[in-house]
């Protein structure tokens, strides 16, 4: 039996049936979803309450040395992603872990440490109405969930509706993508090119030495 299964069972056994919601006794998993034309970004903040932290910590600190190493938090992040599914119009989109930050174990035990996970998935969304379904099945016996769509940066993308199950462990986000045109960023790029051309022209005409340009590629 894996450590994750043992911990999940422990949480389930300790969990009083029908108990009223209490922050200390819950593993809060809050997801924010960014919609883009070719990708979906998920920010997931995981905060174990003090009373469940003792069951969560062993899932993260696998060697129980009291320190969460980069390898341990990355492995935990991948195990969370294995329980998180995203699909666009019925087609599953694989999520890749892009970043994860771990709090200290002491902060987790106090119920105030948050694991911050960031993941991205590629989607191929044409113009029109699209339906994204996000489902989080990570440690359901102990967890409470939140899922919210962020307002898209691309003004051609508009969130139409968000329908969630009562626990917010899944959300069906309907959104519309307007026809692709020259976006604001593209206009800015054209403007920047124009300024660059003007500067180059002035530089040439004034015969001054050129300044070095720095280009960052991400």
């Amino acid at each position: 039996m894996s450590k994750a299964t043992v911990a999940a069972l422990t949480i389930a056994l300790l969990w009083p049936a029908g108990a009223s919601a209490h922050r200390l006794d819950e593993y809060l998993q809050a997801a924010r979803v960014s919609l883009e034309r070719t990708s979906v970004l998920v920010e997931l903040d995981l905060t174990p309450g003090a009373a469940v932290a003792s069951a969560i910590v062993p899932l993260v600190d696998r060697d129980a040395d009291g320190v969460i190493s980069p390898a341990e938090i990355e492995a935990y992040g991948r195990s969370v992603l294995a329980n998180l599914s995203v699909s666009l119009d019925g087609q599953a989109a694989a999520l890749e872990l892009t970043r994860i930050d771990a709090p200290s174990i002491a902060e987790m035990r106090d119920g105030m440490g948050t694991i911050r996970l960031r993941a991205a998935g590629r989607v191929d969304a044409d113009s029109g109405t699209r339906t994204l379904v996000v489902e989080n099945r990570h440690l359901p016996a102990a967890s409470v969930y939140m899922i919210n769509a962020l307002l898209p940066d691309d003004r051609a993308i508009r969130v139409v509706s968000q329908v969630r199950d009562p626990q917010q462990s899944s959300a069906r986000i309907e959104y519309q993508i307007g026809p692709g045109g020259i976006e604001e960023g593209a206009w800015l790029s054209i403007g920047a090119l124009g300024l660059f051309a003007l500067a180059a022209f002035r530089r040439q005409s004034m015969a001054r030495p050129a300044a070095h340009a720095t280009v960052e590629v991400h």
């Binding site: 009223s20 919601a21 209490h22 922050r23 200390l24 819950e26 809060l28 809050a30 924010r32 930050d101 709090p103 200290s104 002491a106 902060e107 106090d110 105030m112 440490g113 948050t114 409470v144 969930y145 939140m146 919210n148 769509a149 962020l150 307002l151 969130v159 968000q162 969630r164 199950d165 009562p166 626990q167 917010q168």
Partner: protein, 353 residues
């Protein structure tokens, strides 16, 4: 020829208008609040020794202004910093603390300052209750001594600078930019959410709670259907550490509200807006009311006052959340709230002018 003359007159009028407006802007004295805040900040800084001054007065930039949190001291904040900006009250002499709080009061309304100090008092109670059972060496601390005050930037009546006052459940962030005073982003919270002083019940966030419950119960069945999300919302969606993000609006749109319902919504919003000094609050309330038709009211949880419920108000220039944290009877003894302006946090508009 006539067309040419007309164009010349137009250009001259435009140029004169621009010059006139600029001159007017320069000649207009800064708002009283900014002048008061600048004087109070200078007075406070003058009470400090050089080491304290270096801690209390930092540069105003993106790295410093985002250092605030709902969390108590001893915990890494959402932005990664392990300690708030500034000096904490517990390290100040009585005279220094008096000057520090006078500076905070200079940018808040009377009720706003009282609310802030009631939140501090609630945290002092939490410290009194939790200290006896705290493990030796535990880094987490609550209480009045753990509230920090800082000045970001050089106090000025023209340039952008900021006063921060915060600790557990409180992050007052007031950015001053000439005539403008901006309270967003600001976090308030309380635990306990209700306590007694000399037989008097104190509820730092009682107005927010009661006015929102009155509003949800004043909606028609159809409006409630729009407003109530039908899900459990366990915490703030855009709490500390989520600067610059906005979520898709949900809930009932105030365009469908009656005049009475709109007034009730405005009264709920005022609970946050009017924490800042009166002049700045009045300007902000006008902006809120101008965008009221496009403002949404969303609700999750019970609609009987006395039980825990989450609500959110989202408009063109305002974003408010109120989230009980699930402690105490009926889950109402531990509250987190957030107040943002998606267009002008940290007086962003002043930076782009």
């Amino acid at each position: 020829m006539t067309d040419r003359v007309f164009r010349m007159v137009l250009w001259i009028a435009l140029a004169a208008g621009t010059i006139g407006a600029t001159a007017f802007q320069r000649a207009t004295p800064p708002a009283d609040m900014t002048a008061r805040a600048m004087a109070a900040a200078e007075t406070f800084l003058a009470t400090l020794d050089s080491a304290q001054r270096a801690k209390a007065n930092l540069a105003f930039n993106e790295s410093t202004r985002t250092v605030w949190s709902n969390l108590p001291t001893g915990i890494a904040m959402q932005v990664g910093a392990t300690e708030r900006n500034g000096v904490k009250l517990g390290m100040l002499t009585p005279a220094q603390e008096k000057a520090a709080l006078a500076m905070v009061a200079s940018v808040l309304s009377r009720d706003g300052f009282q609310k802030a100090m009631q939140i501090v008092d609630a945290d002092q109670l939490l410290e009194t209750r939790s200290a006896p059972t705290r493990a030796p060496g535990a880094p987490i601390r609550f209480g009045r001594a753990e509230y920090y005050v800082s000045i970001l930037g050089k106090p000025s009546t023209t340039d952008r600078w900021m006063i921060q006052f915060g600790g557990h459940h409180l992050a007052i962030n007031v950015t001053l930019a000439g005539r403008q005073g901006v309270l967003t982003p600001t976090h308030t919270g309380a635990q306990p959410a209700s306590y007694s002083v000399d037989g008097r019940t104190i509820r730092p966030l009682g107005g927010e709670n009661d006015k929102a419950f009155a509003l949800i119960n004043a909606l028609t069945a159809e409006q409630k259907k729009q407003a109530i999300l039908g899900v459990a919302v366990q915490n703030l969606v855009l709490g500390p550490g989520t600067d610059g993000k906005t979520i898709a609006p949900e809930g009932a749109r105030a365009a469908t509200f009656t005049a009475t319902q709109r007034t009730m919504l405005v009264d709920v919003i005022r609970e946050w807006v009017a924490i800042i000094g009166d002049e700045a609050a009045a300007a902000k309330m006008k902006e809120v009311e101008d965008g009221l038709g496009d403002t949404y009211f969303a609700w999750a949880g019970a609609t009987d006052n006395g039980k825990g419920a989450y609500f959110r108000i989202q408009g063109p220039a305002v974003f408010i959340e109120y989230a009980p944290q699930g402690n105490g009877p009926n889950n109402i003894d531990h509250i987190h709230t957030m107040y943002r302006d998606p267009t002008n946090d940290y007086a962003a508009k002043a930076a782009t002018r």
